[in-house]
Amino acid sequence: MITLIKARNLSISFNGKTVFKSFEFSLREKQFLVVIGPNGSGKTTLGLLLAGLIPEFIKAEIYGTYTISGKTGMLMQNPSPQFFALTVKEEIGAALPQGVGIEELWEKSVFELSEGEKQRVNLIANLCNGMDTLILDEPLELLDPFQANRFLKIIKSFKGKKTILWLDKDQGFVESEGKIFLGKSLQKFPKRRKHSIGKKLLQAEFSIKREGFESNNINLKLYEGEKVALIGLNGSGKTTLLKAIAGLVPIKGIVELQSNFSFSPQNPDHIFFENSVQQEIGSMQRMRFFGLQQLAKNFPERLSKGQKKLLSLASLQQGQLYLLDEPTTWLDVENKATVYNWINNSREAFLVATHDRKLLDYCDRVLLIEGGELKECSSTTVKRFFRAGL
């Protein structure tokens, strides 16, 4: 077996700020290796270094030794900017690969593809173009369970044939493979706490008609102190529903809301414009609860994606009802535990759109959106939903 990548005592720093210290690993040919590390531990930096971008394209100080033989490709988190060509055919640029399930996408254009499909095409384009090593940087982050399972299926079919280095913050998705930890990892989740449910807080009965989404009969009731999860595939209308309740989307029907609410969007990039984290949050107590006090003086845009997400939750206005859109994407295990704790211990009502299975354990009810219909769903339906596409 040939060793493709070998790193010894590796450290990287940007402008004197160390990203990671004395990291050691080696990658053999046709090995499937997973590197796990929390938010801000330097996973992406490691990927960029191994893909050849860092000394060449981005300037950084590198200490220690590392050798890379062969060509290295990399797949990033966000599928959209990696897609340069107009059609799938042009993007892959080779003959149609058999048995990976993209036959039906072959002639489609970029604008017809969903995020998950784009990511799958990116993966196949990388695998089919003779890369020796492929680095995957949290590729499942923006995908729904169905698309994630399809993605994992392709990975499984290439296992043992290609060298793959997977960088992620969670370890739930792969069974016992070679694992390396970058930074320390903690896994301790709070226990479910039951809250008493009060009087009716929200009653909604409406129909929405929007491009790409149409629903005739949405019926939703929410009580004080109730935690409700909303699941559904990407593009099934979870965000639209939350926005309709928040009054951002025109609807036909009524939304009766008895109290004030606060809405947290999926992408945290759109909200921050203050000069520091402290100004964004306002209250010291809240900052301490979310563990952001060390970043208090930082400029919000300088934070990592996961930290921004946490800040977007911390800077929500107090209300009786929280509408959260994917509150745990980009968060590592420790930060996820913080969010679970927050949802678990607060007395307010929550309506949470999510792909995170663990989060469903802290909710009283689970609602599923499918084909424009909203329905209550049992634990077997949830199980089936998370196994779809396998």
């Binding site: 960029l48 893909a51 050849g52 971008l53 394209f57 060509k71 490709g73 990399m74 990033m76 966000n78 959209s80 900017p81 990696q82 340069f84 107009l86 640029g93 970029v110 604008f111 017809e112 384009a125 990388n126 173009n129 003779g130 890369m131 926005k243 928040a246 951002l248 606060s262 809405f263 969007p265 992408n267 990039d269 759109h270 909200i271 921050f272 414009f273 845009e301």
Partner: protein, 199 residues
């Protein structure tokens, strides 16, 4: 605005006749001084737009009208000594409509990427067409971002009453998102170039 998934009667046409309409017709309208000729050309473009089912045609025509009338009034008021002033003004007005509507026809019936594809075929250097392509490819996403920002600011209660804060809340996030996008894009492009160089 350009269309991304245009489905009009003229979408299946090749680029050349549409380009001819979009550039030759305005050119012709500058050559002639007859209001009748202008009217014929305008009628032709209007007919094309009606066939293409351009839904915003009345809106476009009406929204231009006040500006045109205003400029006409100023023109007539300032230069009363020109002979046949009304005829000149009428020609100018019709000309404005011909130019604008023929471009509207072009942009409405043409899929933007057919322009990029045509540029690719003529072997224009990659640096030229790629930048145009990237602008067009990511414009819808930026529009989406701006929409999202506007909605969130509405929820936060940021309004025009505090103009500085309003501008800050809208344009700071947008600017930072654009920088982030460019960084992501340049990394993705670098990786892609590496993938394509098979040596």
């Amino acid at each position: 605005m350009f269309l991304y998934n245009s489905k009009t009667v003229f979408s299946c046409w090749p680029l050349t006749p549409k380009l001819l309409i979009a550039f030759l017709l305005p050119g012709l309208s500058f050559l002639t001084q007859e209001p009748l000729h202008q009217a014929i050309m305008l009628g032709f473009v209007l007919l094309l737009l009606v066939i293409a089912r351009y839904s915003e045609l009345p809106k476009l025509l009406l929204s231009l009208l006040p500006f045109i009338l205003l400029t006409d009034a100023v023109f007539i008021f300032l230069l009363p000594e020109i002979p046949n002033i009304f005829r000149v003004v009428l020609t100018a007005n019709l000309r404005i409509y011909v130019v604008l509507l023929s471009f509207a026809f072009f942009s409405y019936t043409t899929d933007v990427f057919s322009i990029v594809k045509a540029m690719k075929r003529t072997r224009i250097p990659e640096t030229v067409y790629l930048s145009l392509y990237i602008v067009l490819r990511f414009l819808p996403e930026m529009e989406q971002d701006l929409k999202e920002i506007r909605e969130l600011n509405k929820l936060k209660g940021v309004s025009w009453k505090k103009p500085v804060r309003f501008l800050q809340a809208h344009f700071l996030p947008l600017l930072l998102i654009i920088f982030q996008r460019t960084e992501e894009l340049s990394i993705a492009y670098f990786l892609r170039k590496k993938r394509e160089n098979k040596d």
